[in-house]
Symmetry: C2
Subunit: 238 residues, 2 copies
DNA sequence: AATAAAACATGACCTATGTCACCTTCTTAT
DNA sequence: ATAAGAAGGTGACATAGGTCATGTTTTATT
Protein backbone atom coordinates (compact mmCIF):
# COMPACT_ATOMS: atom_id res chain seq x y z
CA UNK A 1 0.00 0.00 0.00
CA UNK A 2 2.73 2.38 1.01
CA UNK A 3 4.60 1.24 -2.04
CA UNK A 4 1.73 1.94 -4.39
CA UNK A 5 1.34 5.46 -3.10
CA UNK A 6 5.01 6.16 -3.51
CA UNK A 7 5.16 4.84 -7.04
CA UNK A 8 2.38 7.26 -7.97
CA UNK A 9 4.18 10.20 -6.43
CA UNK A 10 5.09 13.11 -8.68
CA UNK A 11 8.68 12.83 -7.49
CA UNK A 12 8.87 9.51 -9.31
CA UNK A 13 6.93 10.52 -12.40
CA UNK A 14 8.76 9.45 -15.54
CA UNK A 15 7.89 12.84 -17.05
CA UNK A 16 8.81 14.87 -14.00
CA UNK A 17 11.45 16.82 -15.91
CA UNK A 18 9.13 17.87 -18.70
CA UNK A 19 6.02 18.90 -16.83
CA UNK A 20 4.83 22.20 -15.40
CA UNK A 21 6.09 21.14 -11.97
CA UNK A 22 9.64 20.58 -13.14
CA UNK A 23 11.01 23.47 -11.07
CA UNK A 24 9.49 22.38 -7.77
CA UNK A 25 11.34 20.78 -4.84
CA UNK A 26 10.59 17.28 -3.61
CA UNK A 27 8.70 18.68 -0.65
CA UNK A 28 6.44 20.75 -2.86
CA UNK A 29 5.92 17.83 -5.21
CA UNK A 30 4.88 15.69 -2.26
CA UNK A 31 2.11 18.16 -1.50
CA UNK A 32 0.88 17.94 -5.07
CA UNK A 33 1.06 14.15 -4.99
CA UNK A 34 -1.27 14.19 -2.03
CA UNK A 35 -3.84 16.21 -3.94
CA UNK A 36 -4.04 14.15 -7.06
CA UNK A 37 -5.54 10.92 -8.32
CA UNK A 38 -3.74 8.67 -10.78
CA UNK A 39 -5.68 6.79 -13.42
CA UNK A 40 -4.78 4.25 -16.03
CA UNK A 41 -6.60 4.59 -19.32
CA UNK A 42 -6.79 1.76 -21.81
CA UNK A 43 -6.34 2.45 -25.49
CA UNK A 44 -9.47 4.06 -26.85
CA UNK A 45 -10.82 5.25 -23.49
CA UNK A 46 -11.77 8.91 -23.22
CA UNK A 47 -10.51 11.21 -20.47
CA UNK A 48 -13.17 13.80 -21.19
CA UNK A 49 -15.67 14.59 -23.89
CA UNK A 50 -16.52 17.76 -25.78
CA UNK A 51 -19.34 19.45 -23.88
CA UNK A 52 -18.37 18.12 -20.44
CA UNK A 53 -17.70 20.46 -17.58
CA UNK A 54 -14.07 20.59 -16.41
CA UNK A 55 -13.34 19.86 -12.76
CA UNK A 56 -9.59 19.87 -12.81
CA UNK A 57 -6.37 19.46 -14.66
CA UNK A 58 -5.07 16.33 -16.35
CA UNK A 59 -1.36 15.74 -16.23
CA UNK A 60 0.03 13.05 -18.51
CA UNK A 61 2.54 10.75 -16.86
CA UNK A 62 2.97 8.42 -19.83
CA UNK A 63 1.22 7.53 -23.07
CA UNK A 64 -0.11 9.43 -26.06
CA UNK A 65 -3.49 11.13 -26.00
CA UNK A 66 -5.29 12.59 -28.98
CA UNK A 67 -7.35 15.75 -28.65
CA UNK A 68 -10.16 15.86 -31.16
CA UNK A 69 -12.91 18.24 -32.11
CA UNK A 70 -16.13 16.96 -33.59
CA UNK A 71 -17.76 19.19 -36.16
CA UNK A 72 -21.46 19.71 -36.74
CA UNK A 73 -21.55 16.80 -39.19
CA UNK A 74 -19.97 14.44 -36.71
CA UNK A 75 -16.62 14.53 -38.45
CA UNK A 76 -13.58 14.35 -36.21
CA UNK A 77 -10.38 16.38 -36.42
CA UNK A 78 -7.30 15.80 -34.31
CA UNK A 79 -6.19 19.23 -33.15
CA UNK A 80 -3.15 18.06 -31.21
CA UNK A 81 -1.52 15.12 -29.53
CA UNK A 82 -0.24 15.22 -25.98
CA UNK A 83 2.42 13.07 -24.36
CA UNK A 84 4.12 12.49 -21.03
CA UNK A 85 4.84 15.81 -19.33
CA UNK A 86 2.01 17.64 -21.04
CA UNK A 87 -1.09 18.92 -19.35
CA UNK A 88 -4.58 18.57 -20.68
CA UNK A 89 -7.84 20.34 -20.10
CA UNK A 90 -6.14 23.53 -18.93
CA UNK A 91 -7.72 25.63 -21.64
CA UNK A 92 -11.30 25.01 -20.66
CA UNK A 93 -10.36 24.98 -16.99
CA UNK A 94 -8.90 28.47 -17.05
CA UNK A 95 -11.57 29.99 -19.27
CA UNK A 96 -14.38 28.37 -17.33
CA UNK A 97 -15.95 26.91 -20.45
CA UNK A 98 -17.20 23.45 -21.17
CA UNK A 99 -14.63 21.28 -22.89
CA UNK A 100 -14.48 22.19 -26.55
CA UNK A 101 -12.67 19.01 -27.45
CA UNK A 102 -12.50 15.33 -26.58
CA UNK A 103 -9.41 13.56 -25.23
CA UNK A 104 -8.89 9.90 -26.07
CA UNK A 105 -5.99 7.60 -25.19
CA UNK A 106 -4.16 6.37 -28.29
CA UNK A 107 -2.56 3.65 -26.18
CA UNK A 108 -2.57 2.56 -22.55
CA UNK A 109 -1.72 5.71 -20.61
CA UNK A 110 -1.10 6.88 -17.08
CA UNK A 111 -2.74 10.19 -16.27
CA UNK A 112 -3.01 12.17 -13.05
CA UNK A 113 -5.90 14.40 -12.20
CA UNK A 114 -5.63 17.49 -10.01
CA UNK A 115 -8.64 19.21 -8.56
CA UNK A 116 -9.46 22.65 -9.94
CA UNK A 117 -9.34 24.58 -6.67
CA UNK A 118 -6.03 23.10 -5.70
CA UNK A 119 -4.29 23.66 -9.02
CA UNK A 120 -5.46 27.27 -9.13
CA UNK A 121 -3.98 27.75 -5.69
CA UNK A 122 -0.69 26.18 -6.79
CA UNK A 123 -0.52 28.46 -9.81
CA UNK A 124 -1.04 31.49 -7.63
CA UNK A 125 1.46 30.41 -4.99
CA UNK A 126 4.22 29.13 -7.26
CA UNK A 127 5.22 31.56 -9.99
CA UNK A 128 7.34 28.89 -11.69
CA UNK A 129 4.25 26.78 -12.26
CA UNK A 130 2.35 29.75 -13.69
CA UNK A 131 5.23 30.54 -16.02
CA UNK A 132 5.45 26.92 -17.13
CA UNK A 133 1.75 26.86 -17.89
CA UNK A 134 2.13 30.08 -19.88
CA UNK A 135 5.07 28.56 -21.67
CA UNK A 136 3.21 25.38 -22.59
CA UNK A 137 0.18 27.32 -23.76
CA UNK A 138 2.41 29.58 -25.82
CA UNK A 139 4.05 26.63 -27.51
CA UNK A 140 0.72 24.96 -28.22
CA UNK A 141 -0.56 28.24 -29.59
CA UNK A 142 2.47 28.55 -31.84
CA UNK A 143 1.92 25.03 -33.13
CA UNK A 144 -1.76 25.72 -33.75
CA UNK A 145 -1.10 28.91 -35.71
CA UNK A 146 1.54 27.14 -37.69
CA UNK A 147 -0.90 24.39 -38.61
CA UNK A 148 -3.40 27.04 -39.61
CA UNK A 149 -0.98 28.59 -42.04
CA UNK A 150 -0.02 25.21 -43.46
CA UNK A 151 -3.63 24.42 -44.04
CA UNK A 152 -4.09 27.73 -45.86
CA UNK A 153 -0.97 27.69 -47.91
CA UNK A 154 0.16 24.16 -48.52
CA UNK A 155 -1.16 21.21 -50.47
CA UNK A 156 -1.71 17.79 -49.00
CA UNK A 157 1.66 16.44 -50.10
CA UNK A 158 3.49 19.23 -48.31
CA UNK A 159 1.34 18.93 -45.22
CA UNK A 160 1.96 15.20 -45.01
CA UNK A 161 5.73 15.68 -45.26
CA UNK A 162 5.46 18.31 -42.55
CA UNK A 163 3.39 16.05 -40.32
CA UNK A 164 5.89 13.23 -40.59
CA UNK A 165 8.70 15.60 -39.66
CA UNK A 166 6.77 16.89 -36.66
CA UNK A 167 6.04 13.34 -35.51
CA UNK A 168 9.72 12.56 -35.91
CA UNK A 169 10.55 15.47 -33.57
CA UNK A 170 8.03 14.47 -30.95
CA UNK A 171 7.99 10.68 -31.21
CA UNK A 172 10.98 9.68 -33.32
CA UNK A 173 13.33 6.95 -32.19
CA UNK A 174 16.73 7.00 -33.82
CA UNK A 175 17.40 3.64 -35.49
CA UNK A 176 20.81 4.74 -36.78
CA UNK A 177 21.78 5.24 -40.40
CA UNK A 178 19.51 8.26 -40.63
CA UNK A 179 16.42 6.14 -40.00
CA UNK A 180 13.80 7.11 -37.43
CA UNK A 181 10.90 5.07 -36.16
CA UNK A 182 7.75 7.01 -35.30
CA UNK A 183 6.81 5.63 -31.93
CA UNK A 184 3.12 6.43 -31.99
CA UNK A 185 0.08 4.44 -33.01
CA UNK A 186 -2.06 6.33 -35.46
CA UNK A 187 -4.43 4.94 -38.04
CA UNK A 188 -4.40 6.40 -41.54
CA UNK A 189 -7.78 7.86 -40.78
CA UNK A 190 -6.32 9.67 -37.78
CA UNK A 191 -3.34 10.95 -39.69
CA UNK A 192 -5.71 12.21 -42.36
CA UNK A 193 -7.70 14.23 -39.85
CA UNK A 194 -4.48 15.73 -38.53
CA UNK A 195 -3.75 17.39 -41.86
CA UNK A 196 -7.33 17.96 -42.90
CA UNK A 197 -7.69 15.54 -45.76
CA UNK A 198 -9.60 12.38 -46.65
CA UNK A 199 -8.01 9.09 -45.68
CA UNK A 200 -7.98 7.88 -49.28
CA UNK A 201 -5.97 10.92 -50.26
CA UNK A 202 -3.59 10.45 -47.38
CA UNK A 203 -3.04 6.80 -48.26
CA UNK A 204 -2.19 7.77 -51.82
CA UNK A 205 0.51 10.12 -50.69
CA UNK A 206 1.85 7.64 -48.15
CA UNK A 207 2.19 5.21 -51.05
CA UNK A 208 3.94 7.86 -53.09
CA UNK A 209 6.36 8.56 -50.25
CA UNK A 210 7.10 4.86 -50.00
CA UNK A 211 7.70 4.62 -53.75
CA UNK A 212 10.07 7.57 -53.42
CA UNK A 213 11.93 5.76 -50.62
CA UNK A 214 11.31 8.55 -48.16
CA UNK A 215 9.54 6.30 -45.69
CA UNK A 216 9.14 2.59 -44.97
CA UNK A 217 6.65 0.64 -42.98
CA UNK A 218 7.26 -1.83 -40.19
CA UNK A 219 3.84 -3.31 -39.78
CA UNK A 220 1.69 -0.29 -39.04
CA UNK A 221 4.40 1.99 -37.74
CA UNK A 222 6.17 4.34 -40.07
CA UNK A 223 9.92 4.67 -40.41
CA UNK A 224 11.44 7.79 -41.88
CA UNK A 225 14.34 6.83 -44.11
CA UNK A 226 15.08 10.05 -45.99
CA UNK A 227 14.57 13.05 -43.76
CA UNK A 228 16.32 15.41 -46.17
CA UNK A 229 13.95 14.68 -48.99
CA UNK A 230 11.02 14.99 -46.62
CA UNK A 231 12.23 18.44 -45.61
CA UNK A 232 12.46 19.48 -49.25
CA UNK A 233 9.00 18.19 -50.02
CA UNK A 234 7.53 19.84 -46.95
CA UNK A 235 8.45 23.28 -48.30
CA UNK A 236 8.99 24.48 -44.73
CA UNK A 237 8.56 28.06 -43.57
CA UNK A 238 12.18 29.10 -43.51
CA UNK B 1 4.18 67.55 -19.84
CA UNK B 2 2.63 66.28 -16.67
CA UNK B 3 -0.60 66.06 -18.56
CA UNK B 4 0.85 63.99 -21.37
CA UNK B 5 2.29 61.50 -18.94
CA UNK B 6 -0.97 61.19 -17.13
CA UNK B 7 -2.97 60.65 -20.27
CA UNK B 8 -0.68 57.77 -21.14
CA UNK B 9 -1.09 56.19 -17.74
CA UNK B 10 -2.57 52.70 -17.55
CA UNK B 11 -5.12 54.02 -15.06
CA UNK B 12 -6.64 56.04 -17.90
CA UNK B 13 -6.31 53.41 -20.61
CA UNK B 14 -9.58 53.07 -22.50
CA UNK B 15 -9.08 49.31 -22.42
CA UNK B 16 -8.13 49.14 -18.75
CA UNK B 17 -11.06 46.90 -17.90
CA UNK B 18 -10.27 44.32 -20.59
CA UNK B 19 -6.53 43.92 -20.24
CA UNK B 20 -4.37 41.59 -18.20
CA UNK B 21 -3.91 44.33 -15.59
CA UNK B 22 -7.63 44.73 -14.98
CA UNK B 23 -7.41 43.39 -11.42
CA UNK B 24 -4.64 45.72 -10.28
CA UNK B 25 -5.02 48.75 -7.99
CA UNK B 26 -4.26 52.28 -9.16
CA UNK B 27 -0.97 52.23 -7.24
CA UNK B 28 0.16 49.07 -8.98
CA UNK B 29 -0.93 50.42 -12.34
CA UNK B 30 1.10 53.54 -11.72
CA UNK B 31 4.19 51.39 -11.34
CA UNK B 32 3.49 49.70 -14.66
CA UNK B 33 2.86 53.06 -16.32
CA UNK B 34 6.33 54.13 -15.28
CA UNK B 35 7.88 51.11 -16.94
CA UNK B 36 6.24 51.38 -20.32
CA UNK B 37 6.48 53.36 -23.51
CA UNK B 38 3.43 54.38 -25.50
CA UNK B 39 3.56 54.49 -29.27
CA UNK B 40 1.15 55.55 -31.95
CA UNK B 41 1.18 53.44 -35.08
CA UNK B 42 -0.27 54.68 -38.33
CA UNK B 43 -2.36 52.38 -40.47
CA UNK B 44 -0.08 49.92 -42.23
CA UNK B 45 2.87 50.30 -39.87
CA UNK B 46 4.32 47.13 -38.38
CA UNK B 47 4.89 46.61 -34.68
CA UNK B 48 7.17 43.67 -35.25
CA UNK B 49 8.12 41.36 -38.06
CA UNK B 50 8.35 37.58 -38.33
CA UNK B 51 11.96 36.65 -37.51
CA UNK B 52 12.62 39.58 -35.16
CA UNK B 53 13.77 39.01 -31.62
CA UNK B 54 11.22 39.95 -28.94
CA UNK B 55 12.27 42.45 -26.27
CA UNK B 56 9.02 42.90 -24.46
CA UNK B 57 5.27 42.81 -24.44
CA UNK B 58 2.89 44.89 -26.54
CA UNK B 59 -0.32 45.96 -24.92
CA UNK B 60 -3.01 47.38 -27.19
CA UNK B 61 -4.68 50.50 -25.88
CA UNK B 62 -6.81 51.17 -28.95
CA UNK B 63 -6.98 50.14 -32.59
CA UNK B 64 -7.04 46.87 -34.50
CA UNK B 65 -3.88 44.98 -35.31
CA UNK B 66 -3.58 42.03 -37.66
CA UNK B 67 -1.21 39.18 -36.91
CA UNK B 68 0.01 37.51 -40.08
CA UNK B 69 2.24 34.61 -40.95
CA UNK B 70 4.11 34.57 -44.21
CA UNK B 71 4.57 31.19 -45.82
CA UNK B 72 7.55 29.94 -47.81
CA UNK B 73 6.04 31.27 -51.03
CA UNK B 74 5.56 34.74 -49.59
CA UNK B 75 1.84 34.26 -49.16
CA UNK B 76 0.28 35.91 -46.14
CA UNK B 77 -2.31 34.50 -43.75
CA UNK B 78 -4.00 36.43 -40.99
CA UNK B 79 -3.93 34.17 -37.96
CA UNK B 80 -5.75 36.52 -35.60
CA UNK B 81 -6.75 40.09 -35.01
CA UNK B 82 -6.11 41.87 -31.73
CA UNK B 83 -7.90 44.87 -30.29
CA UNK B 84 -7.84 47.20 -27.31
CA UNK B 85 -7.17 45.24 -24.12
CA UNK B 86 -5.32 42.46 -25.86
CA UNK B 87 -1.65 41.73 -25.54
CA UNK B 88 0.67 40.92 -28.39
CA UNK B 89 4.02 39.24 -28.70
CA UNK B 90 3.55 37.26 -25.50
CA UNK B 91 3.87 33.95 -27.22
CA UNK B 92 7.34 34.46 -28.56
CA UNK B 93 8.33 36.38 -25.45
CA UNK B 94 7.53 33.51 -23.11
CA UNK B 95 8.94 30.77 -25.28
CA UNK B 96 12.09 32.72 -26.04
CA UNK B 97 11.73 32.29 -29.77
CA UNK B 98 11.98 34.77 -32.57
CA UNK B 99 8.64 36.17 -33.62
CA UNK B 100 6.85 33.64 -35.77
CA UNK B 101 4.41 36.22 -37.07
CA UNK B 102 4.18 39.85 -38.12
CA UNK B 103 1.93 42.43 -36.47
CA UNK B 104 0.58 45.29 -38.58
CA UNK B 105 -1.81 48.09 -37.63
CA UNK B 106 -5.07 47.92 -39.58
CA UNK B 107 -5.79 51.51 -38.57
CA UNK B 108 -4.15 54.19 -36.44
CA UNK B 109 -3.51 52.49 -33.11
CA UNK B 110 -2.15 53.25 -29.68
CA UNK B 111 0.10 50.57 -28.29
CA UNK B 112 2.17 50.36 -25.13
CA UNK B 113 5.40 48.44 -24.85
CA UNK B 114 6.63 46.87 -21.65
CA UNK B 115 10.17 45.65 -21.24
CA UNK B 116 10.69 41.90 -20.98
CA UNK B 117 12.43 41.82 -17.62
CA UNK B 118 9.85 44.01 -15.99
CA UNK B 119 6.82 42.17 -17.31
CA UNK B 120 8.26 38.83 -16.23
CA UNK B 121 8.72 40.25 -12.76
CA UNK B 122 5.13 41.52 -12.71
CA UNK B 123 3.84 38.13 -13.74
CA UNK B 124 5.77 36.48 -10.95
CA UNK B 125 4.74 39.02 -8.31
CA UNK B 126 1.09 39.43 -9.24
CA UNK B 127 -0.77 36.14 -9.56
CA UNK B 128 -3.79 37.92 -11.05
CA UNK B 129 -1.70 39.05 -14.00
CA UNK B 130 -0.35 35.55 -14.54
CA UNK B 131 -3.86 34.13 -14.45
CA UNK B 132 -5.10 36.75 -16.89
CA UNK B 133 -2.27 35.94 -19.28
CA UNK B 134 -3.13 32.26 -18.99
CA UNK B 135 -6.75 33.12 -19.59
CA UNK B 136 -6.03 35.16 -22.70
CA UNK B 137 -3.73 32.52 -24.09
CA UNK B 138 -6.35 29.88 -23.42
CA UNK B 139 -8.98 31.85 -25.28
CA UNK B 140 -6.68 32.50 -28.22
CA UNK B 141 -5.82 28.84 -28.28
CA UNK B 142 -9.47 27.90 -28.29
CA UNK B 143 -10.11 30.25 -31.18
CA UNK B 144 -7.14 28.86 -33.10
CA UNK B 145 -8.24 25.25 -32.67
CA UNK B 146 -11.72 26.18 -33.67
CA UNK B 147 -10.46 27.79 -36.86
CA UNK B 148 -8.42 24.68 -37.56
CA UNK B 149 -11.48 22.49 -37.38
CA UNK B 150 -13.47 24.87 -39.58
CA UNK B 151 -10.75 24.81 -42.14
CA UNK B 152 -10.79 21.00 -42.09
CA UNK B 153 -14.47 20.47 -42.09
CA UNK B 154 -16.24 23.39 -43.69
CA UNK B 155 -16.46 24.82 -47.16
CA UNK B 156 -15.74 28.43 -48.01
CA UNK B 157 -19.37 29.53 -47.79
CA UNK B 158 -19.69 28.21 -44.26
CA UNK B 159 -16.37 29.66 -43.21
CA UNK B 160 -17.30 33.09 -44.53
CA UNK B 161 -20.60 33.05 -42.64
CA UNK B 162 -18.68 32.02 -39.53
CA UNK B 163 -16.12 34.78 -40.00
CA UNK B 164 -18.81 37.43 -40.32
CA UNK B 165 -20.43 36.19 -37.13
CA UNK B 166 -17.12 36.26 -35.28
CA UNK B 167 -16.43 39.79 -36.49
CA UNK B 168 -19.89 40.76 -35.33
CA UNK B 169 -19.07 39.47 -31.84
CA UNK B 170 -15.74 41.26 -31.66
CA UNK B 171 -16.37 44.40 -33.68
CA UNK B 172 -20.12 44.67 -34.23
CA UNK B 173 -21.95 47.89 -33.53
CA UNK B 174 -25.69 47.51 -33.03
CA UNK B 175 -27.54 49.70 -35.51
CA UNK B 176 -30.95 48.61 -34.26
CA UNK B 177 -33.49 46.56 -36.18
CA UNK B 178 -31.22 43.53 -36.02
CA UNK B 179 -28.54 45.23 -38.09
CA UNK B 180 -24.91 45.31 -37.06
CA UNK B 181 -22.07 47.29 -38.53
CA UNK B 182 -18.66 45.60 -38.53
CA UNK B 183 -16.39 48.30 -37.20
CA UNK B 184 -13.13 47.07 -38.67
CA UNK B 185 -11.29 47.90 -41.83
CA UNK B 186 -10.37 44.81 -43.78
CA UNK B 187 -9.78 44.45 -47.49
CA UNK B 188 -11.34 41.54 -49.33
CA UNK B 189 -7.85 40.17 -49.73
CA UNK B 190 -7.39 40.23 -45.96
CA UNK B 191 -10.73 38.61 -45.29
CA UNK B 192 -9.81 35.93 -47.79
CA UNK B 193 -6.58 35.08 -45.97
CA UNK B 194 -8.51 34.86 -42.71
CA UNK B 195 -10.55 31.93 -43.97
CA UNK B 196 -7.90 30.45 -46.22
CA UNK B 197 -9.31 31.12 -49.64
CA UNK B 198 -8.55 33.17 -52.77
CA UNK B 199 -9.91 36.70 -52.83
CA UNK B 200 -11.87 36.04 -56.03
CA UNK B 201 -13.65 33.20 -54.31
CA UNK B 202 -14.34 35.32 -51.26
CA UNK B 203 -15.76 38.14 -53.37
CA UNK B 204 -18.10 35.71 -55.09
CA UNK B 205 -19.56 34.57 -51.80
CA UNK B 206 -19.80 38.12 -50.49
CA UNK B 207 -21.86 38.89 -53.59
CA UNK B 208 -23.99 35.84 -52.96
CA UNK B 209 -24.60 36.92 -49.35
CA UNK B 210 -25.61 40.36 -50.59
CA UNK B 211 -28.01 38.83 -53.12
CA UNK B 212 -29.46 36.75 -50.31
CA UNK B 213 -29.95 39.91 -48.23
CA UNK B 214 -27.82 38.57 -45.41
CA UNK B 215 -25.39 41.48 -45.55
CA UNK B 216 -25.21 45.00 -47.00
CA UNK B 217 -22.34 47.30 -47.69
CA UNK B 218 -21.89 50.87 -46.53
CA UNK B 219 -18.93 51.93 -48.60
CA UNK B 220 -16.31 49.40 -47.67
CA UNK B 221 -17.69 48.35 -44.31
CA UNK B 222 -20.02 45.42 -44.03
CA UNK B 223 -23.37 45.48 -42.28
CA UNK B 224 -24.97 42.26 -41.12
CA UNK B 225 -28.67 42.41 -41.78
CA UNK B 226 -29.79 38.82 -41.25
CA UNK B 227 -27.84 37.20 -38.44
CA UNK B 228 -30.20 34.25 -38.19
CA UNK B 229 -29.65 33.21 -41.77
CA UNK B 230 -25.92 33.69 -41.34
CA UNK B 231 -25.99 31.35 -38.35
CA UNK B 232 -27.83 28.74 -40.39
CA UNK B 233 -25.43 29.03 -43.27
CA UNK B 234 -22.41 28.87 -40.98
CA UNK B 235 -23.39 25.38 -39.86
CA UNK B 236 -21.93 26.09 -36.44
CA UNK B 237 -20.51 23.49 -34.09
CA UNK B 238 -23.47 23.12 -31.75
C1' DA C 1 -8.61 -21.64 -35.82
C1' DA C 2 -12.45 -19.35 -37.68
C1' DT C 3 -15.12 -15.39 -38.28
C1' DA C 4 -16.23 -10.66 -38.03
C1' DA C 5 -14.86 -6.13 -38.14
C1' DA C 6 -11.72 -2.64 -38.80
C1' DA C 7 -8.08 -0.69 -41.37
C1' DC C 8 -5.63 -0.31 -45.71
C1' DA C 9 -5.41 0.32 -50.63
C1' DT C 10 -6.58 1.65 -55.44
C1' DG C 11 -9.44 3.06 -59.40
C1' DA C 12 -13.06 6.09 -61.55
C1' DC C 13 -15.34 10.10 -61.42
C1' DC C 14 -16.92 14.70 -59.98
C1' DT C 15 -16.95 19.22 -57.97
C1' DA C 16 -15.48 23.10 -55.17
C1' DT C 17 -12.37 26.25 -55.53
C1' DG C 18 -8.02 28.04 -57.32
C1' DT C 19 -5.90 30.56 -61.31
C1' DC C 20 -5.71 33.75 -65.02
C1' DA C 21 -7.38 37.45 -67.66
C1' DC C 22 -9.70 41.51 -67.86
C1' DC C 23 -12.55 45.40 -66.53
C1' DT C 24 -14.37 48.82 -63.20
C1' DT C 25 -14.36 51.55 -59.21
C1' DC C 26 -12.36 53.58 -55.45
C1' DT C 27 -8.01 55.89 -52.97
C1' DT C 28 -4.11 58.49 -52.71
C1' DA C 29 -0.62 61.49 -54.10
C1' DT C 30 1.04 65.27 -56.92
C1' DA D 1 -8.15 68.05 -60.76
C1' DT D 2 -5.87 64.35 -62.60
C1' DA D 3 -3.09 60.48 -62.95
C1' DA D 4 -1.56 56.15 -61.03
C1' DG D 5 -2.19 52.45 -58.33
C1' DA D 6 -4.93 49.70 -55.18
C1' DA D 7 -8.92 47.28 -54.41
C1' DG D 8 -13.22 45.30 -56.04
C1' DG D 9 -15.64 42.44 -59.26
C1' DT D 10 -16.82 38.78 -62.96
C1' DG D 11 -16.19 35.20 -66.41
C1' DA D 12 -13.74 31.02 -68.35
C1' DC D 13 -11.15 27.28 -67.42
C1' DA D 14 -8.15 23.86 -64.99
C1' DT D 15 -7.19 20.75 -61.27
C1' DA D 16 -6.33 19.08 -56.56
C1' DG D 17 -8.41 16.43 -53.90
C1' DG D 18 -13.05 14.71 -52.21
C1' DT D 19 -16.43 10.85 -52.79
C1' DC D 20 -17.95 6.38 -53.90
C1' DA D 21 -17.30 1.70 -55.02
C1' DT D 22 -14.79 -2.37 -54.44
C1' DG D 23 -11.27 -5.48 -53.00
C1' DT D 24 -7.48 -6.90 -49.84
C1' DT D 25 -5.10 -7.26 -45.63
C1' DT D 26 -4.72 -6.87 -40.75
C1' DT D 27 -6.58 -7.11 -36.11
C1' DA D 28 -9.72 -8.47 -32.70
C1' DT D 29 -13.14 -11.76 -30.87
C1' DT D 30 -15.32 -16.15 -30.04
Amino acid sequence: MKHSRESNACQNCPSRGEGIFCDLENMELQDISEHKVTNLYKKGQTLFVQGNHPFGLYCISSGNIKVTKTGPDGKESIVRIVTGGDVLGHRSLFTNEYYTATATALEDSRVCFIDKKYILKVIQDKPSVALNVINKLSRDMGAAESKLTSLHQKNVRERLAELLLLLKESHGIDLGGGRFKLDIKLTREEMATMIGTANETLIRFISEFKDEQMIEQDGKTIIISDEEKLIEWANLNY
